[in-house]
Structure formats: structure tokens, C-alpha cells
């Protein structure tokens, strides 16, 4: 049953992504409404899928690449829907949805079979650690998209290239505000993920921190975003600089998540 639901989610996200991209080219009220509704229904199905998977396997379904990427995609869509609902940032969807859809497709490319959980992962820490980490990644993904949009819009304004894209993209202030809000939510979530991971490591292996590649790179990620937040609050790192750091941070996340899990040995290795 779950594979059917998963295919439905892929279909709906695909359709919603298409609508958001079309909306970017041809804005129309009806299109925007339709895209929002379709995406919300897809999100509901995706939640259903995730809960069902939890009931089926008996553990938080964020243990293998299939589950992790699926949850990542779910979180990105959730964060975007929250922004759309709160700030009417519909155009953001034209950038975020392709990313969310790609993540979901990546998830689908990994085997989806429910496997018995390895003993080290059997812990109450799994839920808080993994959910925290992916929620943080999702907000940073949205910040990344807003950053790309900011750099485009800023370039258009500076170079006076006031074409169709310029007209469609939101104002710099809105994009910068999205960056800030993502940061304000994402950094505490990442802190929770790292702290809980450390406590979990203590109970599982007896040491809080062992400089495994994932730990190191998570710390790098944390420092990038902490530096950005600090810069924002004190010396006014905003706009272009904040956008670039959001993009850099996202690249570090990609490396932490994909590179470390798939290439380097360690606790998080999926090799």
C-alpha cells in the first residue's frame, strides 16, 4: 500500500512543481491557487506515507537513504508551505519545488524495503536527532533558494536589466527576510540535532564527540550559519552577503549529507 501512496506523492509533487514553474512564466491567480491546493494535498499524502511507514517498521523512518531523502523532501515542502501561507511567497515555489521534487526522485531511486534496524540505531535519540537535522536542512534549503533569487534580483537591479524575470521576482527585502527567518529557525534546529547526536553518541559509544567526518562537517555547517546569524545581528551582514552565505551553507550541507554518508566511512555511512 505504501509504495502506491509514494507513487501518488511523486505524481502530485511533479504536477505541483510544473504548475509553480508555469506560474513563474505566466502568472495567473487561478494557477497559483491550483498549485497551492495540489501541493497541500501532496503534502498530506506524504505525511500519511511517513506515518504509515513509522507504524509499519516501528521506528522513525529516517534510517536509510530512501527514508532520509523522502523525509528531507517532506520537510522542504512543509517549510515552503509555511512560507507561502504566511508571506504569500508563491514565486519562491518556482525555485523550491523543483529542488523538493528532485530530492523525492532521488529518494525513489534507493531501495525502499523496510530492513531490520541495526542495534545502535535503536534509541529514543533517533527521532529527535534525525527529525531535527532534516528540519534544519529543509529550512536551509529554502534559504538557499531565496539566496539564489536574491542574487538574481540584485544583479538585475544593479545592472538595470529590468526584464520579465525582474518583474516576477519578489523584492529584495522579502527575499532577505526569508533568508533571516530560515536562519532563525534553522540554526536552533541544527543545534538540537548536533547536541542530541552528541548525547546519543555518549550513550551508544561512550564518547560525546569522536571527530567522525559527519560530526566534523556538521560542525562546519553549524559554524557557517552561526557566523551568518552573528553577522546579521551585529554588523549588518545582509542582502548579498547573507545570500551568498546561505548558498555556501547549502553546499556544505550537501557535502555533509551526501558526500559524507555515501563516500566517507563513519557512523552515518551508508556504504
Amino acid at each position: 500500500m505504501n509504495t502506491v501512496v509514494f507513487s501518488v506523492v511523486i505524481g502530485i509533487y511533479g504536477a505541483a512543481t510544473l504548475l509553480y514553474v508555469v506560474y513563474f512564466v505566466r502568472p495567473a491567480e487561478a494557477l497559483c491557487k491550483a498549485a497551492g491546493r495540489i501541493l497541500a494535498s501532496g503534502f498530506a499524502f506524504h505525511c500519511l506515507f511517513t506515518v504509515n511507514r513509522y507504524l509499519e517498521s516501528g521506528y522513525t523512518p529516517i534510517t536509510n537513504p530512501h527514508e532520509s531523502l523522502s523525509f528531507f523532501s517532506l520537510a522542504v515542502v512543509g517549510v515552503f508551505l509555511a512560507f507561502q501561507w504566511k508571506y504569500h511567497a508563491v514565486i519562491l515555489g518556482s525555485f523550491v519545488m523543483p529542488v523538493a521534487f528532485l530530492i523525492l526522485l532521488a529518494s525513489a531511486s534507493f531501495p525502499s524495503a523496510v530492513t531490520p534496524l541495526s542495534p545502535t540505531l535503536k534509541s529514543g535519540w533517533l527521532a529527535i536527532h534525525a527529525v531535527g537535522a532534516f528540519a534544519a536542512y529543509a529550512t536551509f534549503t529554502v534559504a538557499f533558494c531565496a539566496g539564489v533569487m536574491y542574487l538574481l534580483q540584485e544583479r538585475y537591479l544593479k545592472k538595470k536589466l529590468l526584464g520579465v524575470l525582474f518583474r516576477r521576482l519578489p523584492s529584495l527585502d522579502i527575499l532577505d527576510d526569508i533568508n533571516y527567518r530560515c536562519l532563525a529557525f534553522g540554526l536552533p534546529l541544527l543545534t538540537i540535532a548536533i547536541t542530541s547526536g552528541s548525547l546519543w553518541a555518549k550513550s551508544a559509544w561512550g564518547a560525546y564527540w569522536s571527530w567522525d567526518p559527519k560530526e566534523t562537517w556538521s560542525l562546519v555547517t553549524w559554524f557557517v550559519y552561526a557566523a551568518l546569524l552573528h553577522g546579521r545581528l551585529t554588523t549588518g551582514w545582509r542582502g548579498r552577503r547573507a545570500a551568498i552565505l546561505a548558498i555556501v551553507g547549502f553546499c556544505v550541507i550537501l557535502f555533509t549529507f551526501l558526500g559524507v554518508n555515501l563516500l566517507l566511512p563513519g557512523h552515518h555511512s551508508n556504504r
Binding site: 544593479k158 538595470k160 523584492s171 529584495l172 527585502d173 554588523t235 542582502g239 548579498r240
Partner: protein
């Protein structure tokens, strides 16, 4: 029943003439009553704005109706007819309908797409409706015009791009700041152009305005007018950090705001973005300021470029808008002619019945000894003849319905049988047909 338009606008008449002809809205009742009491005019609306004075009317006789309105305008506003006449234009039929639609949709405006005209037409219609000057046809025409204006606004981007430099500056500011309600404008130089631009920003809802000028008194005066705060020119750089938008318009021969000044100001502002609009010639702000992060500098030429690209885009959008106008005008005209179908049928039938009845009566009155039974039979026979004779023409009229030919048929019938159908006011209060 014809719709006619007589008037003048910025296209045909200079300001002096438009001023003389303008009607005041609070004294509009008397002219409206006079207009509709003219012999050939059954309905009328007077539209008077600073760019146009127009009368929309319904008449039986196009030429006579137009002539009456021309004379009405000249006499009412006490302008010699000969000096007014060359500026007046007149439209009837499809052109009149299209003209009303185009005006309401702001396609005929001085600044195409400006939104005020629709409100002005709505209030002109409001007065006409209030004083009973508009009726079935104009009610429908104006409701349709509002609908067309709305359709054009939603389906084309005719109204969405800026045309004047000041307006372009406001639009750009909205792309930088989004919300202008917590932003402050600093106007440097109290010239006319700067004042105009500052007023645009005030209309757009900025929080406050500061005015700096070499002669402080002039800054004070303009600041009072704009509800802002005057700033001494010598202290300009000390106040610069408080401004989000700087409008510079001085006659200074050299740059008055340099890169170092702005970099320093940005530090004080914690890098909050600034938008410099330099509409002074020669320029007031060092162009290198644009290279600084979080600073956007636009000069007159840049803004002119925005305006021109908007105009180009607007021309393309205007074509779409004209298609909508033509489409809706066609629909309105077929409604207008369908309005006359039923009365024409009624008039045609009664014309036949009238002739038959008088002939039958003449025959019967000279026919001695005819029995009531025979009289009844003759009546039945003549009624049947009328029905059969009229069956084909009536069904053709009913089924031709939409399209241009119905007008030909109606005109032909009216002149062949000398008919003057009374218009049926079946849906007087219902101006729309559900699509508004």
C-alpha cells in the same frame, strides 16, 4: 435607437478649451436634465475630467442627436459654437461603443493605463443614474464598460507598468524595499521635478519626507507642504543615514554625494539598503556609488530606459486590450439590436392587424344580411392569413439573433412597413447579463 458620443479630449483640444468646457460635478444635475429633455435625446451621461469632456447619449436620429449635443455643449458653457466645434469629435454605433469601452479601460488616457479614469466614469454614471438621465441602454453600456475595464486590467498588464519617471522610481523602490510604509525619503533640492517625485512616494505611502535645500527657507516651505521635515544643506551628510530613499535634484555643477560619504552612511545604517534617485542634470551622486553593496543608484537616463521599456511593453499589451474591446463591443451591439427584435415583431403584427381589421370592417358594414356565424368565419380566416403571412419573417427575425444582419432586417422592415416600435424596458434595473 443609437448610441452616440460627442466630446473632446487631450487628443483634440488644448487645456484652455478643456478648462472652459469642463462641468463641475456638484452642479451636474441641471445640465443632465437639460440634456435628456432635448428633442432627439432619450438618455444621457456627462463625463468631465481634466483631460476630457464627453457626452454619451441615446438617440433615434444620429445626425440630429449629434448636432443637438454640439449646440448644447456650446450654449451650456457659453462658448461660441464656431470656436468649440473644431475640437469636437463624434462617434456613433460600433465606434461609439468602442470609444466608451476604451475610455473606461484607460486606453484613451494621456497616461495609458492610469487608474483614475474608471473612478471618474463611475461617478459620472452615478450622477446620471441618480438624476434619471441614463436608462436601459446606457445603464447596460456603462456596466459593460466597467466589466471591460476590469477584464483588461486582469487579462493584460496594461496598468502594471510605470510610465512617468517618478512612477518608475516608486516601482523600483518597491522592488528593493517591498513595503514603503516604514521608509523615509530625503529630497535634496526643492525643485519642481523633485517635489513631483516626492509626492509620488508620499502617495505610495512612505513614512516620512525630509527636505534639504541650499536656501533653508525654501526647504522649510516645501517641507511644510509635504508634511515633512526641513534639513539644512550643510548638515545633509549627517541626516543621510536616516533616509532609505534619496531623491537628488539640485542644480549643483558637481557631485554632492560621493562614494566615501555613502560607504560611511551605510556603516551607520548597519548596511540597510539605500535607493538613490539622481534626477539632477548634471548629476548629484557619484555613479561609483552604485558599486557599493546594498546601494542602488538610478539616474535620469536609467529611469528613462525603464519608462521606455515599459512603453514598449505597454504597446504590446494595448493590442491585446483592443481585441478585448472589439470582442465586447460586438457582444454589446448584438444585445442592443436584439432589444429591438421583439418590439419590431409586435409593431409588424399590429400594422398587419390594423390594415386587415379596417378592411374587414369596411366590407362587413356594407354587407347586408350577413349572419354572425359568417362574420366569425371571416374573422378567423383573416387572422389565419396574418399568421401565415408573418410566420416566415418572424421566425427569421427570431433566429437571426446575434450577428450583424439583424440590423439590416430590422431597418428594412421598419422602412418598408413604416414601423416605429416602442422599446421594451423589460430589464431596466438589470443592466448586466450575468457576466459582470
Amino acid at each position: 435607437m443609437n448610441i452616440i458620443v460627442v466630446g473632446l479630449s487631450h487628443h483634440t483640444a488644448p487645456l484652455e478649451i478643456r478648462e472652459k468646457l469642463a462641468f463641475e460635478s456638484n452642479g451636474i444635475e441641471a445640465p443632465l436634465r437639460e440634456l435628456t429633455s432635448l428633442p432627439d435625446i432619450s438618455e444621457g451621461i456627462i463625463v468631465s475630467t481634466c483631460n476630457r469632456v464627453e457626452v454619451y447619449a441615446v438617440t433615434r436620429d444620429i445626425a440630429a442627436g449629434m448636432a443637438r449635443i454640439r449646440r448644447f455643449l456650446a450654449e451650456r458653457r457659453r462658448i461660441p459654437f464656431s470656436s468649440l466645434e473644431p475640437y469636437l469629435y463624434g462617434y456613433h454605433g460600433e465606434n461609439a461603443v468602442r470609444h466608451v469601452f476604451r475610455v473606461a479601460a484607460s486606453l484613451d488616457s494621456l497616461v495609458v493605463g492610469e487608474p483614475q479614469i474608471l473612478g471618474q466614469i463611475k461617478s459620472a454614471y452615478g450622477y446620471a443614474a441618480e438624476y434619471g438621465a441614463s436608462g436601459l441602454v446606457l445603464n447596460r453600456l456603462l456596466h459593460k464598460a466597467f466589466f471591460v475595464a476590469k477584464r483588461i486590467r486582469t487579462e493584460t498588464r496594461i496598468a502594471s507598468s510605470a510610465v512617468s519617471i517618478a512612477f518608475a522610481a516608486v516601482e523600483l523602490a518597491k522592488k528593493i524595499f517591498d513595503d514603503l510604509s516604514d521608509k523615509t525619503v530625503l529630497l535634496v533640492g526643492a525643485g519642481e521635478m523633485g517635489e513631483l517625485a516626492a509626492r509620488h512616494f508620499i502617495t505610495a505611502g512612505v513614512r516620512g519626507v525630509m527636505v534639504a535645500n541650499r536656501t533653508f527657507e525654501r526647504a522649510e516651505r516645501l517641507a511644510a507642504e509635504l508634511d515633512g521635515r526641513p534639513v539644512r544643506f550643510e548638515d545633509l551628510l549627517d541626516h543621510l543615514h536616516k533616509a532609505d530613499i534619496v531623491l537628488s535634484t539640485t542644480g549643483a555643477p558637481h557631485f554632492i554625494i560621493g562614494t566615501k560619504d555613502v560607504a560611511e552612511v551605510l556603516r551607520r545604517r548597519k548596511q540597510r539598503p539605500m535607493f538613490f534617485i539622481d534626477i539632477a542634470v548634471p548629476r548629484d551622486v557619484d555613479p561609483a556609488v552604485n558599486e557599493l553593496e546594498n546601494v542602488y543608484l538610478y539616474n535620469t537616463d536609467d529611469l528613462q530606459g525603464v519608462v521606455e521599456s515599459n512603453l514598449e511593453q505597454r504597446r504590446m499589451e494595448a493590442e491585446k486590450a483592443e481585441e478585448i474591446v472589439a470582442d465586447e463591443a460586438g457582444r454589446f451591439l448584438s444585445w442592443l439590436s436584439s432589444l429591438e427584435v421583439v418590439p419590431t415583431i409586435v409593431a409588424l403584427r399590429s400594422r398587419f392587424e390594423e390594415i386587415v381589421r379596417s378592411e374587414v370592417e369596411r366590407t362587413l358594414s356594407a354587407w347586408k344580411g350577413i349572419s354572425p356565424e359568417h362574420e366569425r368565419r371571416i374573422d378567423a380566416m383573416t387572422s389565419a392569413m396574418i399568421s401565415k403571412l408573418l410566420h416566415t419573417p418572424i421566425s427569421v427575425l427570431k433566429h437571426t439573433g446575434q450577428g450583424g444582419r439583424i440590423d439590416l432586417y430590422l431597418d428594412a422592415l421598419r422602412s418598408l412597413f413604416d414601423l416605429s416600435p416602442e422599446m421594451q424596458e423589460v430589464d431596466k434595473d438589470n443592466g448586466g447579463d450575468g457576466d459582470e
